[in-house]
Symmetry: C2
Subunit: 211 residues, 2 copies
């Protein structure tokens, strides 16, 4: 096993009331009632409308050497994987990860290599196992808990995230999937905070997990 020097990081875009997605998510509207058309366009306007201004934060998201995501973030399909209608994520043939992506699921599936260095690997034995595998794959690089909020909340509750990078955007959703929902109190250190025109970026170090 590689000596671990990398961190476990997490970037997440949230509304001012802490939601990363709205209610009523569907395949056509993966972000549900998100204040826009369900595509997450309003939540992520800072990335798509003002990318130059937010270059450092965007590049940082892609810098991890391994990623972990929940199955709901990987795709809308549920139950056993369908061999006839193969779902390989939302991101096309060349996903932006360029690294191993560990997908939490209850249903086994063979690894799925993609173009550009991304491989989706399917983990059926829980979040700790996924993290151990991702750390091994990342070597001395960072592992990113990519989302969604339900998966991030599981890792926060387990005290397994070192650095949490919030991208807080100017709308509220009122309901949906909320970051920190059900997570016991955390002691944080604000290590960076930067305003941009459509977002406020705040980076916290998690000093101590749930007690």
């Amino acid at each position: 096993m590689t000596d671990r020097t990398g961190r476990v990081t997490c970037d997440i875009t949230i509304s001012a009331d802490g939601y990363s997605a709205g209610l009523n998510q569907t395949e056509e509207r993966p972000f549900g009632d998100d204040g826009g058309d369900g595509s997450g366009d309003k939540l992520h306007a800072w990335m798509f409308e003002t990318p130059d201004e937010n270059r450092a934060e965007i590049d940082q998201i892609a810098a991890a050497r391994a990623f972990i995501m929940g199955r709901n973030m990987f795709g809308p399909v549920r139950g056993p994987w369908d061999r006839d209608r193969r779902w390989n994520g939302w991101w096309g043939d060349n996903p932006p990860f360029h690294a191993p992506v560990f997908v939490l699921t209850h249903h086994p599936r063979e690894p799925q290599p993609m173009d550009g260095g991304t491989t989706f690997l399917f983990v059926t034995d829980g979040i700790a196992s996924a993290l151990a595998q991702a750390r091994e794959a990342a070597g001395d690089g960072d592992v990113a808990i990519h989302g969604g909020a339900t998966t991030i909340n599981q890792y926060l509750s387990a005290g397994l995230i070192d650095e949490l990078r919030l991208h807080i955007v100017p709308l509220t959703l009122g309901a949906g999937t909320r970051l920190f929902e059900g997570v016991p109190p955390l002691n944080l250190e604000q290590v960076r905070s930067r305003p941009a025109s459509l977002v406020t970026h705040v980076t916290y170090r998690v000093l101590s997990g749930p007690v």
Copy 2:
């Protein structure tokens, strides 16, 4: 009636997960399980430990010409006002408001003048009436909805707040009184955002209220 040019503002300090106070509030621990001793000291460390750095935000809180607060913020006493044990707020003989403070309550009470220009006035006919009275008192100045979060959420739900100034601090509480709880979706404009060492200040203009 004075021509109104003032705004309705709201300053509130919240944890990274959106709480302004924890569970189990008591007279001795008005902020409950707040990550500290219940006095709100950890939530408000930015005001008390680094006041020079946050002078503009602190001065801004006091700049309103009339204030509105919920009875729970005014004090821990419940039910009809006790003439023998008169509660005049948490702030001593010379409260920091130096202006009329309208307290929402179900129980009538005569106005209570204090030193330094503060007068506590008790409003029994609801939030709209309190705002109308506060606007009249403020003239062309701002009216501040001073809290707590439950009162602020009522005003947000009614579409009656123009400017919301969040002071987001590096801890989570996990439970308690949460800003935006039960408030329908809001469309906001981020008008200012400023980092300081123990807090991130974010000011939103409320573009449209609940639809």
